[in-house]
Amino acid sequence: MAKKNEITRRQFLNYTLMGTGGFMAAGMLMPMVRFAIDPILKTEAASDMVDIDLRVEDITTEPIMKKFKVNQVDGWHESEVEQAAFVYKNDDGEIVALSPVCKHLGCTVDWGTNPAYPDEFYCPCHAGRYYKDGVQVPGTAPLAPLDVYEMEIRDGKVFLGKTLPHPKA
């Protein structure tokens, strides 16, 4: 009979087998788990501002529509999405970049296309109107001002990031 603190040959073998088995299982599972949660582990790219190919000196007080491509990552699926912005200088000389997506139901607004309102953004879908600063005209379809883009100027070029709610919203 074995003494109290001694382990039998059978127990010893059991422990060693369980130990090695455990390591092997962990070795197999770890990479799988890592793969599964991969997008969470990735740190967000340091800079997701996009060069929209527009120089500061080319910006006037007249809003111009500028289209650009953004990499959109949705879990594993990465795709290029086209976005657009209206860029202009306001009365204080500040550069403004507005999103052209109507806050009513998401149509694309255009600048001055309605002959009755040449100095407003106009949405063709439900006749929504916005003043030049992006605030909606009261009484028209939209209930919120146009979104504004996060913006940075690097070496005289305009870089845009995410859209944020309008400061006057």
Binding site: H104, L105, G106, C123, C125
Partner: protein, 154 residues
């Protein structure tokens, strides 16, 4: 809006604002002109998607009306008539049909809706920038047709 469950949720909650259907007519054929047939469907689908993007809030794109090129005109007309009938019954006031297949052009006046026939441009060989320009130009013109009809009809 697109035919996706997420967007249909918005559609259901804002139904009174969405009165326009965008429908692509896509031919299917496996014969010698197969490639041409494919590019017809491709071009009109790309264009429809672009129009949808611009007019997202008032239009609904439904799955394309696909038909065999070998089908007779009468058969196609009958089937498409069933589609448009169903759409009218559900309160859609404007139906725009996009196609590159010239067969529809010949029977345009028999359709219940506006046929927008645009000859297919082979997009696959174009470089990105040129392709963009061409599509923008086409889109602009089609947008004009759609918004004009809205203005005159509402």
């Amino acid at each position: 809006m697109k035919w996706l469950s997420k967007e249909i949720d918005v559609f259901l909650s804002a139904k009174q604002y969405i009165d326009t259907i965008l429908l692509t007519l896509v031919p299917i054929s496996f014969h010698e002109n197969m490639k041409e047939t494919v590019s017809m469907g491709e071009f009109s689908s790309v264009l429809t998607a672009e129009i949808e993007r611009q007019l997202h809030g008032r239009t609904l794109v439904i799955p394309p009306f696909a038909y065999l090129k070998s089908e007779s005109q009468d058969e196609k007309l009958k089937k498409l008539g069933q589609w448009t009938g169903e759409l009218r019954k559900n309160g859609f006031r404007h139906i725009f049909m996009f196609t590159s297949d010239s067969q529809w052009k010949a029977i345009e006046e028999l359709l219940d809706g506006t046929l927008i026939w645009i000859p297919a441009i082979p997009l696959e060989h174009m470089d990105e920038k040129f392709r963009r320009e061409i599509l923008d130009e086409q889109t602009k013109q089609v947008l004009q047709i759609v918004t004009n009809q809205w203005q005159s009809g509402s």
